[in-house]
């Protein structure tokens, strides 16, 4: 806080002499700036802006909790175990959506983790300096593409490829696991998992890059001096030091995958069923909201949908808080720029 005396500088010494007929006129700003009033007003306005952030969170919680009461009282915890989603008979169970959300996100992680850690390691440890900038810029560009464009691309490019090449191949080679059986529609859990993976790779790889960059250089030098090959150096000195941060990045990616709506809605098939095969269509919490919310007639229907929203909100908050804590523990509070 600035010293209060600074606000009214007391001039001593000779005052400027004004010519006859010239009146000293102070502009409004100068006069107002003399007052503590303007300062106080300013700090209140700014404080109000900061308060808005808290108010928004409070509003979200209040609205979601308040408006999901009806469904909560009707079904209780059974809401999340019930399997049938039946708007006609006003009976709601959210298990197929929970299942679809978890399976598609886990599938996305399984695909994205090795790829994004590989990209992160390559950019920090292996690639020539001139390539580093363009490479991170390009991966970041992936994060800037709107979700609906991913969905569009997935419908018209990814799904046909899956249908005619990838799925028949998987069915032939890995069909015995039971994960890849049934008719290859293209659309379904697998397509959702892949498009989600493409969407979360930039997040995980940019965080991996950042946590790898803060591993002290002397750790690397020590490993090399002991005769380690480059890979052994990366494995022993770099990845091991940064693992908490990488896990944080992965969880941040998970948070994004759980809440991702449009691209998933466009390719997952939107059928509230639980199937073991990844070829089968599914449904996620976010996509049921996208598809049914604006047409929900009936209070209980709307309330059930909002309860799904509340569950999604709580899960993503927990996941994000955990991720931020882990990343912070590695970078020690250095700002991590992640757009999750």
């Amino acid at each position: 806080m600035a010293n209060r005396a600074l606000y009214r500088p007391q001039m001593t010494g000779p005052q400027p002499v004004l010519k006859d007929g010239v009146k000293r006129r102070e502009s409004l700003l100068v006069r107002a700036s003399d007052g503590v009033l303007a300062d106080r007003l300013f700090s209140w306005i700014i404080f109000g802006c900061a308060l808005i952030v808290l108010v928004i969170l409070a509003l979200i919680v209040w609205q979601l909790v308040g408006r999901s009461q009806l469904s909560w009282h009707a079904f209780g915890w059974k809401f999340f175990w019930g399997q049938d989603w039946d708007p006609v008979n006003d009976h709601y169970g959210a298990l197929p959506f929970v299942y679809g959300t978890i399976v598609s996100s886990v599938l996305a992680l399984v695909i994205a983790i090795p790829l994004s850690v590989g990209v992160g390691v390559f950019t920090t440890e292996m690639c020539p300096k001139w390539l580093r900038g363009p490479l991170s810029f390009t991966t970041e560009l992936l994060a800037a593409i709107p979700s609906v464009i991913y969905g569009l691309w997935a419908i018209f490019v990814l799904v046909p490829i899956l249908r005619s090449y990838v799925q028949p191949f998987l069915a032939k080679t890995l069909g015995w696991t039971g994960l890849f059986e049934g008719p290859p529609y293209g659309i379904g859990m697998l397509a959702a998992g892949i498009i989600l993976a493409i969407m979360i790779i930039p997040i995980i790889s940019s965080i991996t890059r950042e946590v790898l960059a803060v591993v002290p250089q002397h750790q690397r030098e020590a490993a090399l001096a002991l005769g380690a090959t480059r890979w052994e150096m990366i494995w022993l000195a770099v990845l091991r030091n940064a693992r908490a941060g990488i896990v944080g990045g992965i969880i941040l990616g998970l948070g994004r995958a759980l809440g991702e709506t449009m691209a998933v809605t466009m390719v997952i098939g939107n059928r509230p069923e639980i199937a073991k095969s990844l070829f089968a269509p599914g449904y996620t919490m976010a996509s049921v909201l996208a598809n049914e919310f604006s047409e929900a007639a009936g209070d209980l229907y709307l309330s059930a949908l909002i309860e799904i929203g509340l569950a999604l909100f709580l899960v993503t908050i927990i996941v994000n808080a955990l991720a931020r804590f882990l990343v912070w523990s590695v970078t020690r509070g250095q700002p991590v720029r992640a757009r999750a």
Partner: protein
């Protein structure tokens, strides 16, 4: 050491296995980069090829035709997007910058930490959930879908991002500048606005553009707030078309001509986002705000 005599320095033998793993790891890392970049290249290639081929004057000047009919365009959706984004920015940018100023200049206390944490949390809230909240607080009150509700949803998404980047940028301004201003008797509000904020202008605007680019392509929060519209609409309290919404509707439709228009819409959306960002950066660098930072 096997021999202490003056044997020639022994060459370090690296076992075949270790060499192999090393090379395999390198090959793996390189191939991940290729696999990750492939979809990016594919998406942009398709966007440009399919988009340019589908763009025409009708697309940019006409409203949608009834389902199944060939022709028509997304002019109203482009205008609607501009309208909704303007509302969102008008609400979100001042609030976000204000909150950022608070955090940087007054926020070294528990309240400030709470605001920081909450804005990080809000950053991770799925956009569809924000849509529900905007629906609950605006649409239910107004009794119908509206551009205002869509703008509110987008503003809620912009505020946390802008808050955090503004704070980061203001903290980069050296304290000596603030002290110099205080030393000249400049009051605090004036120092903050005319010295600190002006010094950080370009950084703050970058943050704003990041937030803008992020919400410009958002579809989920608009589904049940702006809702979409087949016709022109300039009233804030009426359902309004938006480009991402229209792309979504057309992409999942069964008509080939609508698929074509979805690609064109996607290209226009990307171009709008990129040119908005570029234009603002250009103005910041040369225009009225030139020489600030």
């Amino acid at each position: 050491m096997p021999d202490s005599k003056a044997a020639p320095p022994q060459k370090l033998e690296i076992s075949l296995w270790r060499k192999l793993t090393n090379h395999l790891a390198t090959a793996f890392a390189v191939s991940t980069v290729i696999i990750v970049l492939a979809p990016l290249v594919a998406i942009f290639a398709y966007l440009v090829i399919k988009g340019v081929g589908s763009l025409n004057l009708a697309f940019l000047t006409q409203t949608p035709k009834p389902p199944g009919e060939i022709g028509g365009g997304m002019a109203n959706a482009i205008a609607g997007s501009v309208l909704i984004l303007t509302i969102g920015s008008l609400l979100g940018v001042p609030l976000g910058i204000g909150a950022g100023i608070y955090l940087a200049e007054f926020g070294q206390n528990r309240f400030g930490n709470a605001v920081r944490f909450v804005s990080d949390v809000l950053n991770g809230v799925p956009s569809i959930v924000i849509g529900i909240v905007a629906y609950a607080i605006v649409v239910l009150r107004q009794k119908h879908f509206s551009a205002l509700a869509g703008g509110t949803a987008l503003a809620i998404m912009m505020i946390p991002t802008i808050t955090r980047t503004t704070e980061e940028m203001l903290l980069l301004v050296p304290n000596t500048l603030r002290e110099a201003a205080y030393g000249l008797g400049v009051p605090r509000w004036r120092t903050t606005l005319s010295i600190v904020l002006r010094t950080a202008t370009s950084g703050v605007i970058t943050g704003v553009m990041l937030a803008f680019a992020r919400v410009a392509g958002e579809t989920a929060p608009l589904l049940f707030t702006a809702f979409g519209n087949q016709f022109w609409n300039w009233r804030l309290d009426q359902p309004t078309a938006a480009l991402p919404l229209q792309i979504f509707t057309y992409a999942i439709s069964p008509y080939d001509d609508w698929h074509r228009q979805a690609w064109a819409g996607a290209l226009v959306l990307i171009i709008l986002i990129v040119s908005a960002v570029a234009a603002v950066r250009y103005v910041v660098r040369r225009g009225t705000l030139g020489g600030v930072a």
